[in-house]
Amino acid sequence: MATYDFVFDGLGLREWCGGDDAGGGGLMSMDALLSETSGTETEVSAWDTPFPSLDALNAACPAMPQSRDLTSGLENGFLAIKDGLQVVVDPLTQPLSWALTNALWIMQAAPWWLMIPILMIVSYAVGRSLKLAGLVGLSFAFLAFIDYYDYTMQTLAIIFVCAFICVLFGVPIGIAMARNDKVQRGMIPVLDMLQTLPPFVYLIPLIFLFSVTEPKLYGIAIILYAIVPVVRLTDLGIRMVDKEVIEAADAFGMTERQKLFGVQIPLALPNIMAGVNQTIMMSLAMVVIASLVSAPGLGVLVLRGIRSLELGVGLVSGFGIVLLAIILDRVTKAALARINASQH
């Protein structure tokens, strides 16, 4: 006899449950098996009354689903729509795979004596600081010296592609949110969810949807995780543009387009750049986790350090990631400072 027999008897649902041989149908739980084999009917005291969970109710009435039915149902449901979803999502995301594959190829194919100066020049062009360019050069030289150059370039290639796509989609989404309260109300829960979901959870449906060998699998995971700050800060930046300046733009007869590109975006640029900085930092964090699903780069070494307890490899690659983080942060912050200096 199960604890909740009285519920179904009382409601007269015994027929629907399929007769009175309780626990007969469905899959058997370990407890039920044990009690059956030991031949003793366990007496349940009031103190141990189980919560009326799916499993407890199933014990009383076999027609009730078990909790394992819930998870397997979800799984089957997902598998059922998977093919249909793939038809749509696969071609849409294919460019991401190409971009990642090509970026990885270019960054690795270029010889170090070309790549390191190029990175130094780029950082100088963005930050206008020789010290910063020096830091970039030294960091990459150090990583190359300890033979981590290839891994570093892989990580960097993934970050460049993903951060670029985040900005490409994030800024327009942020603009749409700033211009329309309804869009903002709709987007905020989505952004909240993306920000609070543990990064590992993104990976689960993606693994089902794409094969683990495809670069877009980790690309999408990184983009979903890292796109949030640039969207939020674009929205905030445009909403914070001085009302009087907007009024002046209106009073002199600017069109909506002129206002957006001539006033709102330039004035929101410090905030947008702060968002880009955050987005780059977050894609760096995610690229390590994404090594679980075959993202190449320094993350693979960290993973190796954990899996096979290679303490030294884990620590050195961890330090490499910190170095990359410092460089990326400094370069974007320098760009931000330059924008700020020209406006205030």
Binding site: V245, A248, D250, A251, F252, G253, Q343
Partner: protein, 350 residues
Amino acid sequence: MTDDIKISIRKLYKIFGDAPQTALAHVHEGMSKADLLEHENHVLGLNDINVDMPAGKTTVIMGLSGSGKSTLIRHLNRLIEPTAGEVLVDGENILDYSPRQLRDMRQHRMSMVFQKFALLPHRTVLENTGLAPSIEGKKSRTYAAEATKWLDRVGLQGQGDQYPHQLSGGMQQRVGIARALTSNSDIMLMDEAFSALDPLIRTDMQNLLIDLQAELHKTIVFITHDLDEALKLADHLVILKDGFVVQQGEPQHILLNPADPYIEDFVGDINRARVLRTRSVMEKTEAPVEGLDGEVDHDDTLESVISMAEGDTNKHYRVMREGRQVGVLHMRDLVRALVPTSRGEETLVS
């Protein structure tokens, strides 16, 4: 006045709230502003405004904060849409304008100067000045000469390459004025344009505006909460209180004939000797009078006459306008005019 009317506001109402039209019906039935806020939760911003603004003159709209003056000026270029009423500019009701017509009017026929300057911080002073031509799509090469001309005129020679944040407040507002002038519009809306400046710079700017106006004859609509400033600049003065027009007319007239206690309070603190002109207190006569002590101009302030008479109240002066006598000024009348009059009492202007 016989001047051409440039802007004409007719029966303008503005009610802030969720259902302004319902609230408007209540207002037409005579509900007061306080009742409307309490029972209907709507704010009566502007209540039956009727103002004619003469072309080529300065109309000053004065009121304390919350009186609706900034709301009113924003109706003139439709930065705010009215609940009911008409705004006629050059005889056309701008509320009928399509977005394109409205933009065209804002680009070519009306410019605006703001309290907090509202310059674009990422553009140079020259680019800010050329905002109106740049909106039309002109390159900075094309408008540079025009913009530089106006920058020079407002006293900002050689500052074109600076950024706004490198200039002081007074200089930024000069850019604001140059920007309005560069648009070549007939109408200039000035929303508390000098209120954010310190007193000395404010006086400079007022004088600059008076000079410019003497030269250019724009139709200026000037908003202020400062009566001294209003009296200094106004050809036509409109006094707003709680969203309706308490009194409007020629400033000297309002000063000598306040329509209600509110205006009396207002004008009570004014240095009348500096604001009133001899023409407002003289006895009008063209007949020659014997035994006068000298001549004064009809536009002289009483202050200057007092210093000329050295405080003697027994003197009499001939008041001249363009070489002709237009009246006689008795110092005794002048002294009496310096004391604020209460409504109902005999006033000095006949």
